[in-house]
Structure formats: structure tokens, C-alpha cells
């Protein structure tokens, strides 16, 4: 098993005809993901290397039975595209787009929550990879193989860094979930950690957080109450000065809130081992699982 994406995934890509959209859609298909269609208004009837393009999500879902959407359109169009996919009944929407206005994200989040029929992952995320099954997004799949470590992270490249160190120690992954670096993620640590807890294939959970907000602190409470599997944490941004946005829109220490130190302490207080470097995370994994699986 894996979570969120797998062999049942039927993917429809919004923005498939753009250069990045085309490149990554085809890479995802090459990996084995079932890419059933794409949406670009005005380009319905065309195809991208055999993948049919539709004008609307509603038509795409009707004709292809798509159950997963990937959003690759520029920030000013992204909220609309997410809402369209939701309106068309797509269950899982993965938004790669970086730079979506925060108030758009607020509207999208609250609309999806109210309607209760779709899950959004991202925005500003690298996507989701279930090694050997499906890759939806821009995660470079070559570094990862199937295994028993579930990874959830606010950062793309940091996920690759940690995943690579784990791979060097012989570990593979059940699923790698990028939840994104924006202030209003559709899916939070606790959602994904809960899914890993219920996933029989996952034996160890690695969560990679960073400064800003309180998602890591809430995850610490959740883990203490609901998670029996071992969890290893990592937090980036100990050296970040307050009031400065560190690349990700959500990575900002506001006054005394959202510091890396507070997050690491909150996790450790609930018994989560926190690695001080990506290398320490892998060492902790080895110690917990007793070597490669």
C-alpha cells in the first residue's frame, strides 16, 4: 500500500500544454502514472503526446474518469483551476504552483472544507511520489525506491536531500508527500501522518518542517495522541532572523512565534526524535529500524 497516489490514480493535468506542464506530465507518465488527460481552456480537442486535452475539468472528468488533478497553471489562475477541479468532483487535487495570493488560498481552503468532497495537497509543493506506483508532480523519482519509510515535508529539495541520505542507508519509501511551503496548505502534517499511521506498508514516519506557523506543534500533539509508529522530525531555519520570509511564503518567524527552536522542542517534548541535520535524521532512522529493510 501507499497513500494518496498509487496504481488507482487517474491523473488530469491543468496547464498540460505549458512547457513545464508538458515536461512533467510526460515524466509522470514515463514513470508509470496513468495520465488520462489535461485541461487548457481553448485547446480542447488537441493532445499532448497522445494525452487528450479538454477545455474544462467537467468534460475531462466525464470523458476520462479522472480522480486526481495536478495544477500547473500560473499563480493568478491557480485558485480558479483548483475550484474548477473541485466543482467537477475530482477527489484529490495536487497544486504545484508557487506564488498564489494568500487570500486566494484562504477562499479555496474554506470552500473545499465546507463542501467536504476534495482534498487539496499544496500549493507550492513538489507533489506526491509512491515509489514503483505513481509519481504526481516534480519529485525526481530516480533517488527513491519502494520501502517502508513515509516522508512528509514542507520543502521539495530538502525532501530529496533527506530521502537521498535515507536511500544511501538502504531505506525505501512507501510514499513521499510534499505539503508545500505556503501559509495555507490544503493538507497539513497531521492529515498525512494520520494516513501513514493507517498505512500497513509504512513502518517509520519522517516529517520535515520549517519555521513559520504552528503546524509542527499541532503535529506533535497529534502524534502523542494518535500515532504508535516511530516518527523522526527535522526542522529547518534555526538561523532565520525574525520578520524575514525565507524563500517559502510560509517560512517566516513572526515576533517570537514560529521559531525552529520552539518547534523542535514541541516535538521532542512529545517524544519525537528530532535530527539536527538531514544526516542525523537518517542515522536516527537506522537506529530505530535496525538497519536497512
Amino acid at each position: 500500500m501507499s497513500i494518496l497516489v498509487g496504481t488507482d490514480t487517474r491523473l488530469c493535468v491543468s496547464g498540460i500544454t505549458g512547457s513545464e506542464g508538458t515536461f512533467h506530465s510526460l515524466r509522470n507518465r514515463d514513470y508509470g502514472t496513468d495520465v488520462v488527460g489535461g485541461v487548457t481552456p481553448g485547446k480542447g480537442g488537441q493532445d499532448v503526446d497522445g494525452i487528450p486535452v479538454f477545455n474544462t475539468f467537467h468534460e475531462a472528468v466525464d470523458k476520462t474518469g479522472a480522480n486526481t488533478a495536478m495544477i500547473f497553471v500560473p499563480p493568478r489562475f491557480a485558485a480558479d483551476s483548483i475550484l474548477e477541479a473541485e466543482d467537477a468532483g475530482v477527489e484529490l487535487i495536487i497544486a504545484i504552483t508557487e506564488g498564489i495570493p494568500a487570500h486566494d488560498e484562504l477562499r479555496v481552503f474554506n470552500t473545499l472544507k465546507k463542501n467536504g468532497r476534495s482534498r487539496l495537497v499544496g500549493p507550492n509543493c513538489p507533489g506526491i511520489l509512491s515509489p514503483g506506483k505513481a509519481n504526481v508532480g516534480i519529485i525526481p523519482a530516480t533517488f527513491f525506491k519502494p520501502g517502508n519509510v513515509g516522508v512528509v515535508s514542507r520543502s521539495g529539495t530538502l525532501t530529496y536531500q533527506i530521502g537521498n541520505v535515507l536511500a544511501q542507508q538502504g531505506f525505501g519509501n512507501s510514499t513521499i508527500v510534499g505539503i508545500g511551503g505556503d501559509p495555507v496548505p490544503g493538507t497539513d502534517f497531521i492529515d498525512v501522518i494520520g494516513m501513514f499511521q493507517d498505512d500497513p506498508e509504512t513502518e517509520l514516519i519522517v516529517m520535515s518542517g520549517e519555521i513559520g506557523g504552528d503546524a509542527e506543534e499541532r503535529a506533535a500533539d497529534f502524534i502523542a495522541e494518535h500515532v504508535t509508529k516511530p516518527v523522526i522530525g527535522y526542522i529547518a531555519g534555526f538561523t532565520a532572523p525574525p520578520g524575514k520570509t525565507m524563500g517559502h511564503a510560509g517560512a517566516i518567524v513572526s515576533g517570537s512565534r514560529g521559531t525552529a527552536k520552539a518547534k523542535a522542542e514541541a516535538l521532542e517534548a512529545k517524544g519525537v526524535r528530532v535530527g539536527r541535520t538531514p544526516t542525523e535524521v537518517a542515522q536516527a532512522a537506522v537506529a530505530l529500524l535496525g538497519g536497512a529493510s
Partner: protein, 382 residues
């Protein structure tokens, strides 16, 4: 993007939030002209984004032309906790009967706007929250519904404002919420919100933070500037479309991806070094972007050594190597570089660097090893 007080008040005025009449000034002459136009008494206020301006002598009342000139002279160019005053705001002096606090905050944890009101105005609100949390009335607004009149009444009664201004305070909160939504702010704060002796409700201060990602919809806001916050490296990086944050140390840092760069800063600090900057060259960085980034990093005279930490996903390590070789061709750096290339096309990238035989460039294969090396080199150069 944080606005200066006067920029915030000008936004407020556009949305019908009552503010004292005022004018900005950049010179003593402009300040005196503004004071003459506004009339006396007026207040000369230093425009810097920091608390405690009054205590530092950055806010003075002028009763006549001579005083306006004196105060403007004294405050322009003043240093307030490390920030230079380049601009003044001259406004009508207000009579104050009560000082309240009001704000609308983008509460990312609750994923809804949070409206707060307190009668303990004019103080540090975090301190009030710690010492007397019941003194602050709070209410989350469903962003799909918006701010209703009853929200305003409820907050006003819960905060126990004077009975005769319940309606006025409620109306003020509704307008602050309008400003928050219409301008796509992440913070709108008024401290103090005042009640005058003739029972008018006014915003005496304004602290506004706008969402940088939404500025494409607000071109007039995108043009706002705060010269006291502008740093030459950050300006240069912005013009080149790079994500750069200036820090205090002497080790220049370049990486790809915000999380990896933050992590790199931490690992360098753990190795005993002090990073000079955060620079995310982004996913898929091409050679030109790398050259451009090296120029920004080296324009900071404090930099004694530079660390490249690349984990190639979409970014290809051979592109990064080509960018670095190009940068050496163009600018001939005098400080040592440590380069860690891992991930997509790392073998090709390392081979290119080895072939180019760049002076004083050290290749490392791990993040920890690269951090240790760059710290050693920076210390040797200090």
C-alpha cells in the same frame, strides 16, 4: 511587504477608516509646508517600521512654524534602533479620551481572519495577551461570509468599550476588515485606536502588511517603498529575480530550494560558521542565474568564503557548474568557494569543475563535509 505608518493611513483613508489629516515629507522644507497647511498643533512623526518611536524622540508635537522646523530637523536622519529616518508624516494633533487596540490578522493556524479588539490600547499587545488575556476580545470570521455588523457589536461589547462608542467602534472594525480583504493584507493593526473627547473614533497609528504574492493585482501598492529597509544586496537580488535575504555573517550561501538553503544555513552555523545570506537559486536554475547570484553574494564586502550546496532534482548539477565557471570568467572572485554537487547530473558537474581548474574552488561530496570546509576557509581568511 510591511508598510510605513503613513502608507497604511493612506490605504485606510481610501477605505473610509477615519484617520487624522496628514501629509508625508522628505525634507525640512516639505515638513514645514505640510505643517503650515495642516495647522497647529500638529505632530511630526518619524516613519520607520519599529516600535518605541515616541520614546526614542521620533514623535514630537509642534505648536508653531519654528517648532515644526526644529522637530523636522532633529528627526530627519535620526537613527531609531538601527533604522535611519528618511521620511516624516505630519498630521493634525488629536485629543485623546481613550486608547483602544484593534487588528485583523491572517490567522494561518485557524485558516481564517482573526479580528481582535481591546481597551488596553497604546501598549505592546503581546504583553497584554500574556498578562491579561481576557482584556482582548477575539473573533474568527468565516472568509466565505465576511464581516457582519453583529461581529462588530459582539467584539465591542466583549471588549467592554464605552457604551456610546459601540456603534462607532463596530463600524471601524468593519472598515478595517474591508481594508484587509480589498488590499489583500496579512495584517491590519491600529494601536492606538482613539476615542476623542467629542466621541469620534479614529486610527492614530497604522501597521499594515501586504501579501507580496498579491501585488500583481495592486500595482499602486507594489510601487510603495521604505528606504530605511532597503539593503543594497537585497535590492540588487530583487531586480534580478533572486530570492535573497541578507544576514550578519561572512559565509556566502547559495543553494536550490528554500528548505535546503535554510537547512544549509543551520548546518553551517552548527559547524561554527556565520552565514552572510540566504539565497535560493530556485528549481531548474540555469547557468546565467548562477552567475547573477554569485555577483549578488560577492557584492557584500563581508563575504570571506562561499558555499554552494546543490541537490539536483529539476536543477541539473552540470548547469550549476557551467554557471560557476562562467561567473569566474566574468568576475574573477578572490574568495574561496566550496561546492557540493549531488543529485541530477552530479558526475558531469563535478567533471566540468575539475576540468576548469578554477582557482580556490573546493569540491565536497556531502553537505556536512562542505559546511565544515567552508567554515575552516572563512576562519583562515578572517
Amino acid at each position: 511587504m510591511d508598510l510605513l505608518e503613513y502608507q497604511g493611513k493612506q490605504l485606510f483613508a481610501r477605505h473610509g477608516v477615519p484617520v487624522p489629516a496628514g501629509k508625508p515629507a522628505r525634507t525640512v522644507k516639505e515638513a514645514v509646508e505640510a505643517a503650515e497647511e495642516i495647522g497647529y498643533p500638529c505632530v511630526v512623526k518619524a516613519q520607520v517600521q519599529i516600535g518605541g518611536r515616541g520614546k526614542a524622540g521620533g514623535i514630537k508635537v509642534a505648536r508653531n512654524r519654528e517648532q515644526a522646523e526644529q522637530h523636522a530637523q532633529a528627526i530627519l536622519g535620526m537613527d531609531i534602533r538601527g533604522l535611519t529616518v528618511y521620511e516624516l508624516w505630519i498630521e493634525t494633533a488629536s485629543e485623546i479620551a481613550s486608547e483602544y487596540y484593534a487588528s485583523v490578522i491572517f490567522d494561518r493556524s485557524a485558516k481564517a481572519p482573526l479580528v481582535m479588539l481591546s481597551t488596553k490600547g497604546g501598549m505592546d499587545i503581546e504583553q497584554v495577551a500574556d498578562e491579561d488575556p481576557d482584556a482582548i476580545a477575539r473573533l474568527h470570521v468565516d472568509p466565505l461570509l465576511g464581516f457582519q455588523d453583529f461581529h462588530g457589536r459582539r467584539l465591542a461589547y466583549e471588549a467592554r468599550v464605552d457604551a456610546d462608542v459601540v456603534r462607532g467602534v463596530g463600524a471601524m472594525l468593519a472598515k478595517l476588515y474591508d481594508t484587509f480583504i480589498a488590499e489583500e493584507a496579512t495584517l491590519v493593526e491600529v494601536n492606538p485606536l482613539i476615542v476623542t473627547p467629542d466621541r469620534e473614533v479614529k486610527a492614530l497609528d497604522a501597521k499594515v502588511t501586504l501579501d507580496g504574492n498579491a501585488l500583481f493585482r495592486h500595482p499602486e501598492n507594489a510601487a510603495l517603498r521604505d528606504p530605511s529597509q532597503e539593503d543594497p544586496q537585497e535590492q540588487m537580488a530583487k531586480e534580478r529575480g533572486l530570492t535573497y535575504v541578507k544576514l550578519d555573517g561572512d559565509i556566502g550561501i547559495l543553494g536550490n530550494g528554500a528548505g535546503l538553503v535554510m537547512s544549509t544555513l543551520d548546518v553551517v552555523a552548527q559547524a561554527g560558521g556565520s552565514p552572510a545570506n540566504f539565497l535560493d537559486a530556485g528549481g531548474g536554475s540555469k547557468a546565467e542565474a548562477i552567475t547573477s547570484a554569485v555577483e549578488v553574494i560577492l557584492s557584500d564586502p563581508k563575504v570571506k568564503a562561499v558555499l554552494f550546496n546543490i541537490f539536483g532534482g529539476i536543477t541539473r548539477c552540470d548547469e550549476v557548474a557551467r554557471g560557476l565557471i562562467e561567473a569566474f570568467d566574468q568576475i574573477n572572485p578572490t574568495v574561496p568557494f566550496v561546492v557540493r554537487l549531488d543529485g541530477t547530473n552530479d558526475v558531469e558537474g563535478r567533471a566540468l569543475l575539475a576540468e576548469a581548474k578554477l582557482p580556490n574552488v573546493h569540491a565536497e561530496s556531502t553537505m556536512d563535509g562542505a559546511a565544515a570546509k567552508v567554515v575552516e576557509l572563512a576562519k583562515a581568511a578572517a
